[in-house]
Symmetry: C3
Amino acid sequence: MDFVQNSWYVAGWSKEFDFDLVPRRIVDQDLVLFRQSTGHVVALEDCCPHRLLPLSKGKRIGDDIQCGYHGMTFAGNGRCVRVPGQDNRPDSAFVQTYPVEERHGIVWVWMGDPDRADLDAIFEIPQFTDPNWCTHLGEALSIRAHYLNVAENLVDPAHVSFVHPTTLGNSASENVPVHVSTAGDVITAWRWIRDSEPVGFFQNFGGFQGNVDRWHYYHLHLPSTAVIDFGSGASELHLGEEDRDQGVRIFAIHFVTPVDADHTIDYWMHVRNTAVTDESASELMDTLLRKAFQEDVTVLEAIHKSEQRPRTRKPTRIAIDKGPNTYRKRIRDLIEAERTEYLGDPVDPCFIHHD
Amino acid sequence: MDFVQNSWYVAGWSKEFDFDLVPRRIVDQDLVLFRQSTGHVVALEDCCPHRLLPLSKGKRIGDDIQCGYHGMTFAGNGRCVRVPGQDNRPDSAFVQTYPVEERHGIVWVWMGDPDRADLDAIFEIPQFTDPNWCTHLGEALSIRAHYLNVAENLVDPAHVSFVHPTTLGNSASENVPVHVSTAGDVITAWRWIRDSEPVGFFQNFGGFQGNVDRWHYYHLHLPSTAVIDFGSGASELHLGEEDRDQGVRIFAIHFVTPVDADHTIDYWMHVRNTAVTDESASELMDTLLRKAFQEDVTVLEAIHKSEQRPRTRKPTRIAIDKGPNTYRKRIRDLIEAERTEYLGDPVDPCFIHHD
Amino acid sequence: MDFVQNSWYVAGWSKEFDFDLVPRRIVDQDLVLFRQSTGHVVALEDCCPHRLLPLSKGKRIGDDIQCGYHGMTFAGNGRCVRVPGQDNRPDSAFVQTYPVEERHGIVWVWMGDPDRADLDAIFEIPQFTDPNWCTHLGEALSIRAHYLNVAENLVDPAHVSFVHPTTLGNSASENVPVHVSTAGDVITAWRWIRDSEPVGFFQNFGGFQGNVDRWHYYHLHLPSTAVIDFGSGASELHLGEEDRDQGVRIFAIHFVTPVDADHTIDYWMHVRNTAVTDESASELMDTLLRKAFQEDVTVLEAIHKSEQRPRTRKPTRIAIDKGPNTYRKRIRDLIEAERTEYLGDPVDPCFIHHD
């Protein structure tokens, strides 16, 4: 099972990283992260090259990590700075390091070739720092499923009516067609449901009296960051695509981090243009989204188990699959491109950091 | 690991099937069963052909099942009746269905070629409807073992003295020879233990004062339904084979349903010619049999684990194996015959139901 | 994953073996042990050759074991003495037996060719019976790790400062070189830490006021018995290697029994020249060692999991590995020698005992 390597993935919220050693598995690689005295978070291969004990089982000595078995000690740049019992250090005494960047309370780690780690590629939206919007970090949702199934769910508005009938959707949208378009590394699936009752979520947040126009824009940024722009406006306003800020508008953002082939973490947060200074609104929104996302988890984990079973026929494809299908094709192309590149380049990626 | 496909297997008791969607795995195939408004139980492949979510995770819409992910909806005949978001339905939008028959409170499902589903092949005995007999449905015993080991135990009177020394057997029978004969699809192993103390079970049910003649007839109907005809009569009656109704006679019936290679359900029930209107006798018998069958489970699950271990020599065969050996040979022949047939017939069995 | 077969391994303490049937897995073979009426413990293959039920699920009939399924009965020499339902006994009706020897409350079993079971090869030290010493049997430590990792830890003094910083070691020893030598089947790694504070253990047992000289001698007897001779003496005594009895001296002895490739039992005990008649000292020592050994378990189980992960580079070797490296090479040679021998000898080792 392959993953896109050359990408920034979310390793957690800033508040999770401090003096303590934090283990994380991302794209099937084991990392240990910690915040150095400079305030900078570093990420190292979580495996002592000597006897393979995870370094996260060791302890910090200042800004270094000392292995918990024989005390071999590594600096934040991956170099071995001490081998107890001897003066020299063998060439192989190092651990790989991973570029880390922290923004808006989110810790990103680059899992591929470090020379390509482009800070401009980190996900950003202007609303993160706009005082007319409230940005609220949510939780880490652990899902026993393959990340492609998790991510494709986030470019798939059609599931909302059936998986979230009382929270994010209702039956009014069941047959409303989904549009899909692609621009660069972003696949967007969207639809408007005009002139229908507000769904559960906007009964809580909109204060709407009558029918609303409701929109769902699912922007999936390759490889696996999703921005779900959803909102409602009173139907009599006849809002157009460009008028969404006039309605109650929310971005539910999902940073989908592949752990391994059977496990995914969905770090989710939200940004809104309503009740922007009301912390209790953030908490209520957390509660509602937590319930809705758990509905997804139930489906995704059942599918993951089902996919392990022998099959005798190919899955059926239907019209609403356009977003997921486009997404999967793009991921396959990215993985294939990385594979081809590595074949053409004899440098072992594991040794790139050692200099 | 193969199973006999062309057979009726018990999916449960009638009382288990109602409005709710009930998942079952039988011969390593996943089914969803439910009772339609007509009163008829239907069985469908428990897997939406779109994204493989088990349909049992969806919900009923009248007599149809709506998938819990994108709302694709299937009728009881397996045909797709709705694909939300589009008007047409792809050819592959169907699920396999399985013939179901319900008799005497027992739900049977046919797991093979539906054209061969012969209602006359369903297990039947006249005592089920005879007012001189009491028929009582028991329980579903879940066993982490291969079904052949479970079923062979039911054509094997010799184990009773050792596995059930205080319930169904005692030491008097340890060396009494076992007879085995075959008639059509029924293998029978039997023995009489003459003029010995009544075993625990018949101390409870017979009211015997002195010694008894006790019989055990194990009838194993291929592939895996067992009728254990056991009973006792006062020794001075000198009962012959044809006189068993004059003694206290019980049929313990086991419907052995293979779940997969590591799991079996034994649906058991009993029929008796004593205390026929006494419900508390049924409950007492349940209690005694439940205890005895648990003794089998302990043995069968330990054997299943042992069979997974590497072996350097072949198992020993002994005289009392005649019933089990005959049974295993018949099952191998049945599976081989089905395999040969399918090879000669290019129709994919998964598509048989689509018309 | 291979094991040294031609060796005595500890199966448990004498007090664990009595009338009851005790199952044990050693070097991936399943045994059942019990104490016969003669007082002698016997070890048989824990698998009835008929239907593979572990004999430990059966019951004792005098000094024999009766299988819990069909009553096939085996004497302590592995021969079948009864097959219910028939008079003769098939040639294959036997179970392998294993030589057993009991000494000082320890039960040893020989897992290889019984003709080579040499009683003189059983581990022995004079202190076991010396009234100036106290011998105390400890516990069985279950470790989910490969036994080579467990055993190499016991010829590796360098880990003590880092794994046991508050119990068996302290930072004073971090850079003190380790010496390694080999004599016959014993690999010894040792070092002295001169003129430093007593470690936690000897703060409890030595009653030392000032600095001490502390020694650690790790004697690893192939394949997997370790004697850790550690102690302390007041620094002003300037103890030499031969003077250790003048200090507080303890032997922590580990009998490392491989269960299978993923599981090891460490039977540990201790022998000391201090407080020899004080039972509470034994208990205190148990408590301290139990805590220290649990520190090893944490490390060893984490390494075992780490070793299952894919690796792209070879482990680094460092100076303090000399003991472990020597040990692993010796074990590889032993296993290779056994393999070569068996290839040259066509007798199936499973049948050796049948005569």
